[in-house]
């Protein structure tokens, strides 16, 4: 399915037509003869692995960058090389992954910013509010016009972003990874809004790498790989497996469980461990009691969490981001002080131990942000593979170069890190390979408990597959794993038990067999609470 399929044009003319787009940044060719054809009034999914060139293509569309070659037509007009203000004037609205809102202003103020209604030379707040509320009603994007951005949830903030572009008259809406921060009910709500915009004649381009969403919502799909457009598919005529194959350029070995994890079909799956049967009489490897962690302003980010994980068990934590998962993991890793409660690792109290001490006591940690915490981007792969283990790799204060490079050689081979070079800086690797370096370091050594936070965020299908199988192997080898992921499917596919975190507490703990997306979704948005102990 690597040859572009003929486009269906019966629904109307092209809203966007990009042809033969070339764009290089120094030696890197981000786009090579890329093509994107979006018909007016459709929801078009743009998919591809990280670094496939999706964002560059959208930056060219939005006028942020000029193509080296190729043409760009919008609504039949050749606008190649236009500017951002041209693009906005022509009705293109881009909603970025990172919100660009002024957090101290209200929703209405943010939406009208730059085009404020004025009466008598002064900002007319009442009119701004009423205009925003009218638009909100019309589109079904529910917001309260007079609330401050700082008080909103991410889902609400995203709605404000979308409204902002619509307020400026956008008819072509580009959404960059819009669901990454949303809970399942919020995602469903977003879908409703998008469909409604489509009915109203709007055109939507959705950038994503979550294939379940693609199947759910899109009409047409463009697949990109290594800067090129490799497939153009009608959603109704394709399957997740076909899309995945086009994305990675090879057949992805899909077992039924892998299909759930990598492709996210909506059915929930059981994940009863087969290789290592955890028995109840076994003492727990990680034991956390009534843990309280304070945020920067003294708020209880983690508010009395109790959990225990047995060797050979994966406990998954689901939840909308920002409900204390990050703080919980960081407190367990020793990166944040515990206000009260206790943490026991293999029976030893480590509540007040340092990061290094916990590490040597058998704690491994895949951090949620590899660019900020997990890697030193300017260090070589070899050096990154000993980050946190530098004490073990030195003798009398001097680094042991021979051990470091033999360790690198072994890990690069075992974890298939590409390109297989020990001296390359981590910055030069793709997201997936960067994550493999982190995984190799944390799992390629003796450990008993693993904290895995967003282990597959922003990595491609091939790497997801690889990392998942490693996590299962760890379980089989009798390790205890605490998994935090924003991907509900990932949690469901890997965990033995699932805990849902809401406002710093466990709202529910369920055996994976009882955990369906719908059940979890209610706990995730706080509609239901059990006050559970995992």
């Amino acid at each position: 399915m690597t040859t572009p399929a003929p486009a269906s044009t019966e629904r109307g003319a092209y809203a966007i037509r990009m042809q033969g787009i070339d764009k290089s940044f120094g030696p890197v060719r981000a786009n090579r003869e890329a093509t994107l054809e979006v018909v007016t009034g459709e929801i078009h999914a743009l998919v591809g692995e990280n670094g496939a060139g999706k964002s560059t293509l959208m930056r060219i569309l939005g006028g942020l960058q000029k193509p080296d070659a190729g043409t760009l037509e919008v609504n039949g007009r050749d606008v190649t090389g236009w500017t951002t203000s041209d693009a906005i004037a022509a009705g293109i609205g881009v909603v970025h992954q990172h919100f660009m809102l002024v957090s101290t202003l209200t929703v209405a103020e943010n939406i009208v910013l730059g085009e404020e209604p004025v009466s008598g030379g002064r900002f007319d707040e009442a009119r701004a509010n009423s205009e925003v509320e009218a638009l909100s009603k019309e589109t079904g994007l529910k917001v309260s016009a007079d609330r401050r951005i700082a008080d909103l949830s991410v889902g609400e903030a995203q709605r404000v972003e979308i409204l902002k572009t619509l307020f400026r008259g956008a008819r072509i809406l580009v959404l960059d990874e819009p669901t990454a921060v949303l809970s399942p009910p919020e995602v469903r709500e977003l879908w409703t809004v998008l469909r409604r915009l489509r009915e109203g004649g709007g055109t939507i381009v959705l950038i994503t790498h979550r294939l379940d969403e693609v199947i759910d919502i899109s009409d047409t799909i463009t697949v990109m790989r290594a800067g090129e457009t490799v497939a153009r598919l009608r959603t109704s005529e394709t399957t997740p497996a076909q899309i995945a194959k086009a994305m990675v350029g090879r057949d992805v070995a899909l077992t039924s469980r892998d299909e759930i994890s990598a492709l996210g079909a909506s059915m929930p799956g059981g994940a009863g461990s087969t290789e290592f049967k955890a028995s109840s009489d076994m003492s727990s490897a990680l034991n956390v009691t009534e843990l309280v962690v304070l945020g920067s302003r003294g708020t209880h980010e983690v508010d009395g969490v109790t959990l225990s994980i047995r060797p050979g068990e994966i406990l998954g934590i689901a939840g909308v981001e920002g409900n204390g998962q990050t703080e919980l993991i960081e407190a367990l890793a020793g990166l944040r002080p515990c206000a009260s409660g206790s943490i026991r690792l293999d029976g030893h109290d480590v509540t007040y131990k340092s990061v290094a001490e916990r590490r040597s006591a058998g704690l491994s940690h895949i951090p949620e942000d590899r660019h900020r915490r997990g890697l030193i981007l300017d260090y070589s792969i070899a050096d990154n593979l000993v980050l946190g283990l530098q004490e073990a790799f030195s003798t009398r204060g001097m680094l042991n170069g021979a051990n470091i490079s033999s360790n690198a050689k072994r890990q690069i081979e075992a974890f298939d890190i590409r390109p297989p070079s020990a001296v390359l800086p981590a910055r030069a690797l793709s997201g997936g390979n960067q994550q493999k370096v982190v995984v190799a370091r944390e799992m390629g050594r003796e450990f008993s408990v693993l904290l895995a936070s967003q282990p597959t965020r922003g990595v491609d299908v091939g790497a997801i597959e690889f990392i998942h199988s490693r996590l299962r192997e760890a379980r089989a080898a009798g390790k205890a794993v605490l998994l935090v992921s924003a991907e509900l499917n990932e949690v469901l596919a890997l965990s033995d038990r699932v805990a849902v975190m809401y406002r710093g507490r466990f709202a529910a703990v369920l055996p994976v067999a009882e955990a369906t997306e719908d059940v979890l979704g209610e706990y995730m948005i706080g509609m239901k609470t059990d006050e559970a102990v995992a």
Binding site: F25, V355, A356, R359, H365, I376, Y379, L387, P419, L429
Partner: protein
Amino acid sequence: MTSQLREKFEEALFPPVVALLIALVCGDLLIMSYGQSPAAVYRMLLEGTWGNAYGFGQVLYKATALTFTGLAVSIGIRAGLFNVGAESQLAAGGFLAAMMGLALSPGVPGVLAVPLCMLAAAAGGGVVGAIPGVLKVKFGAHEVIVTIMLNFVVLALLNWGIANHLNVPETLHTTEIDAGAIPRLEAFIGAFHGSAANLSLLVAIVTAILAWFFLFRSRRGFELRAVGLQPDAAEYGGVSVGGVWFRALTLSGAIAGLGGINYVLGYKHYYEEGFAGGAGYLGIAVALVGRNHPLGVVLAALFFATLSQGGLAIHALVPKQMAEVLQGVVILAVAMSVPEVRRALRQSRRPVAA
């Protein structure tokens, strides 16, 4: 792969070369504005520095102090800290070295007295460096502000002490030290007669080598650089970020302080008010141009020392401000060619997918 390598090489080499050329052309224009021939001035500059033993000795002498301060600043930058206090650390180091030299009795043999004086110098600079370290770790005070303020405080204190209590009447220096003098190069090589160059030079070279080993071969160095690049990642890797900051600023101060031996033990044999003479501030430029690498620092120190001594030599043709302006142009041009600086200016560099 070879083309990639070539590209990397070009990227590392071209910008500084262009920067130097820009500085040269600016120098040409400046010289011509004084109605002189650039060729004659450059020749005179080279003859007065690398062209004769005395001039070369002076270059070595000046480069010695700049190596110490350049290393001090670069250790700080490697840990993500900007130590602007090398000037006062250098002065404090020289002061304590002189105090130690005065305290020891003349009978103490050099092998004992010199290390003791060096230790005093390093301790003096180290204490001045440790203060911003403590304030940063304990109270979050920014090291740039603290080190700038400490320059005023420390220099004023030292000068007050010298001007009012410790000076030889009618002068601004102490009496000569009784022990701990470091021999000059002229004692070994007659051609260096009269030049201030002394064996502190060897101490500077050894310090540069040790700094390299520390930064790139030791565990502490690994951790220090990690903190400088990504403090969050270092913390994740079990490194105490505050501890590294404290140690880096203290070490930085100690190295700058050790630089005080060049003047006090090696040249004048007394502490003289104002002896640092801007070497601490110039150390920032040396570290920047030397790309915070010990070898680069040594080369940059030689370069700036040549400009400084050469400025004196070309005095007959152009005023001394000309050499100072040229030095400024070089710093500006080379700084712009440093990748870190350019990256900070451009900011939008994304990770490149392999």
